[in-house]
Symmetry: C2
Subunit: 532 residues, 2 copies
């Protein structure tokens, strides 16, 4: 602690690089308030530290200008969001419990043992039920910065606890929620990140899958999927003929501009191999020579007219690379969608600018299917998002006849190819909700009887959304991981490397909760216990 | 949903009692958006419902004007607090983890099993460690509306999860924290609750115990404790002589104005009995007759001068009641403090106004002892509040010689006799912190090694406070319970009566967490399992 008088620095001694570089303090007294031991790393931005070391000494890592910026920006953005919702739009900030009950299908919910033998609370993945109950309760505009929990084991860049901007509104439609969120993002957008424009563009799920092969397209660059089936009409190429005979069989392509110049042979091999292992699909690469001919075994199997048509449809020019694959649409699209992103990453790794990191492309994706076939049993249906999503009104009658054809009033907010939010108009009619849960999804409705009863108490029509705050912020600040916008994150294995949580707990401390540890390999139980 | 034109009501049909009573809608179309089954209770304020019924149908209970007011006021007050801290005082809102590690002595912490066999997270009782780490991390003004957890079993009017306004500041002293909080409460105070005045009065712990027999005095009324030992000097009354011979023996009294008129014989019996069972102390009741004489067996054992002195010291007049008790000060004070509150409640139950419910008396209590003797082993010391509290500077040297005499830089905020906040200046010197943990408190310091290392990394002097938001709000709105300011509270046994949490979880679902249930009375294990 220095006490003294502030004065202008002597001429020539100013430091323009420092915010306070024009002044100095003429010290009159000095007191050492605390000392510092030798630190585990230097407090300089340019000193590269391993992530494990950063996490172990997080209180030092947070001193870096980058982390200070991230945490302070987070606080400011959240404050602006609250002002927008509370002060400008009359929302009520309501805290909902995190010690709740297991939800149907809540396999990823942490359990919390209670003092009642065999009974557990559950840490909810979202306040979904509570926000809907609040609509029944007459809190017609609810929001909360909600702490949510999800036990996903070891997934990269996921956190066991995360925060969502949780919103629910009575007497609202899809357009109403979307324009509220556009206003919210616009109002809270950091000044130093440039202008964003509202309304955000919108795209149907079908369009997103068709053009980008994914339901969260990165629209900052082209290289869209093209259906080139007609170019191959009447082809004699055996494997293509076979593919076209199957239901929803098609031939699709993406074109990488100047791909011949930038992508190396080993890149192409890697991409083809990835397609084979991840999707079980063959991908052909057809570079376009300077004379417009295709450098591919396909070339001699195709008529000139077909080749011409292919180049035209793919908008391919000399020097470009065309990736072509044939098969059922539901395989081909995600494969090419993935390939498109992999090519962008590869090109960027060679210094070719594909996506401008200072540009923010928001996008709504709408008209999702309401149900999807279960992966392990395609005869059964599961909710594409959650079982409370209302059908698109003109599809509602299909619920009872062709549920697979029903679109849901669900909307995702996508930013630069990442899903940063999702919501829906909910079912507010108890009998429709019961039909979906019971008849279509075959769920045990007793677990949701309170929600069904609540809907049956005169629930208003309602809908809402949840924004993933950590993800949104990490994209805005350009952080490689959501860990960089969270003060004290867990490692990808769910560990706190600073305090060493989770940790062993004595059998004595577990007694009040009527649980005991089941050690794996009970034959070495003694050894395991020793490590406690 | 009614569509139509709004118009003024015909003359004579206005309803002044309704906010919209001067207008009506001339309906052009009507659509039934939803229907309602027969509700379990009428939606009228005057219909008395049991608390269990209110909790089971919380979504209906919340429709009441009172609950709507409470939840909306809560949202508004919290928003004002955020504006004050974030926008006016440059605080940074930082979210800290709730999946943490067990803290030393954290017997009331819920455990959360992790995927690592035998390892558990703990739900923290407060972000104490994180807020101090943030000070080391250069977030010099931190705040958070923090969700906290405490497993207290079945305590009335406690909740397993609650919210605190959590604040920590670097380079601050006790006066700095106190004036910030006064500003915060003043700024966020609801307009319809009248004016409050800052700064709040302040009282030492010693003064509070001396005058009110409690460390959170309700200063809305008098009836203070009076030490009347000198009136009994040289007494021949055996039990009083005995009491005075013991260390810190004293005679103390409280005077209940007009107590003779209001308190009945059975009330006095009840109070004396309570004193005996709860404190093991005899209490004498001495009513003051119209002629100024005492209607008590004590009367004939006391000289006239002594009686005169007693009346004068107790400021007792004709018709008053004096409660007198003799014994060690540490027994007598809490006993009379409790008696004082019980008398106030009894008088109020008879319609005698003692405490004005529309008046808000804030009070700081300061200069607490830093350590207290352990209840089960008075040779050992425990932290009066927590082990991170710094000593009052002029007492710091006593840490090493007479730790029992050290006062802490701790401050409690009291409102109408309830503790609504508490904080302290923290120890920022690692070796002093180690000395307190290791030498004085005999704690296992390995559990706090990360905090000690952090202090040793150049921690700035810092301090802070936490306000109990639920309690504060319940007093402001005059609610009988904190459950009335929480949207979805648990019952006093920790149950959610609406969703029936906590609930049984299948052994299958517990497997990933390597735990199993230990059923009480294993001889009826089979039966117990059936109930799952």
């Amino acid at each position: 602690m220095v006490k003294g008088r502030v004065r202008r620095r002597p001429e020539g001694q100013e430091n323009k690089k420092m915010p306070t570089g024009e002044i100095e303090v003429c010290a009159e007294s000095l007191e050492v308030l605390n000392t510092s031991r030798k630190l585990p790393f230097e407090m300089k931005e340019f000193v590269k530290k391993s992530e494990a070391l950063r996490m172990q000494y997080r209180y030092l890592d947070l001193r870096s200008p980058r982390m200070q910026y991230n945490l302070r920006l987070r606080s400011q953005m959240v404050m602006k969001m609250r002002e927008y919702l509370c002060n400008l739009h009359g929302f009520v900030d309501v805290e909902t419990p995190t010690l709740f009950k297991r939800t149907p299908g809540g396999a990823k919910e942490f359990v919390v043992p209670s003092g009642d033998p065999g009974k557990f609370y559950s840490l909810p993945q979202s306040p979904q039920q509570f926000k809907q109950l609040l609509m029944v309760a007459g809190i017609d505009r609810y929001f909360q910065l909600a702490r949510c929990y999800r036990d996903e084991g070891s997934k990269p860049d996921r956190q066991p606890e995360f925060t969502q901007v949780d919103i629910e509104i009575s007497f609202v439609d899809q357009a109403g929620v979307m324009s509220l969120i556009e206003g919210l993002v616009h109002y809270s957008w950091p000044e130093d990140k440039g202008q964003i424009h509202v309304p955000f563009p919108s795209m149907t799920y079908e369009e997103a899958m068709r053009d980008y092969g994914v339901d969260k397209p990165d629209t900052r660059f082209g290289m869209k999927l093209v259906d080139v089936t007609t170019a191959f009409q009447g082809t004699q190429i055996e494997f293509i003929k076979d593919a076209l005979l199957k239901p929803s069989g098609c031939i699709q392509a993406i074109c990488i501009p100047e791909g011949m110049k930038h992508l190396k042979g080993k890149d192409l091999e890697f991409l083809k191999q990835a397609a084979k292992t991840q999707y079980g699909q063959e991908v052909s690469v057809a570079p376009v020579r300077a004379d417009g001919s295709l450098k591919s075994p396909l070339s001699r199997l195709l008529s000139d007219r077909a080749k011409q048509q292919l180049l035209q449809m793919a908008q391919a020019n000399a020097g470009d690379l065309i990736f072509i694959t044939a098969g059922p649409r539901e395989n081909v699209r995600p494969l090419l969608g993935k390939l498109r992103l992999q090519c962008a990453e590869l090109l960027e790794s060679y210094g070719v600018p594909v996506r401008d990191p200072s540009v923010f492309h928001f996008l709504w994706v709408v008209d999702f299917p309401l149900f999807l076939p279960k992966e392990d049993n395609p005869e059964m249906l599961e909710a594409a998002h959650h079982p409370f999503t209302a059908p698109v009104p003109e599809d509602a009658h299909l619920l009872y006849t062709q549920p697979r054809k029903v679109r849901g009033q669900h909307y995702d907010l996508v930013l630069n190819g990442c899903e940063v939010g999702g919501g829906s108009i909910r079912i507010h009619n108890a009998s429709q909700q019961l039909y979906v849960l019971d008849t279509i999804l075959k769920e045990d409705t007793s677990l949701l009887s309170h929600l069904l009863e609540a809907l049956d108490s005169g629930a208003p029509p309602h809908g809402g959304i949840a924004l993933g705050l950590d993800r949104l912020l990490s994209i805005i600040v350009g952080a490689p991981s959501i860990r960089d916008v969270i003060a004290f994150p867990k490692s990808f294995r769910g560990h706190d490397l600073m305090s060493r949580a989770p940790d062993f707990v004595s059998e004595e401390d577990l007694k009040p909760y009527h649980i005991s540890v089941v050690w794996p390999n009970t034959d070495i139980e003694g050894h395991q216990h020793n490590s406690v």
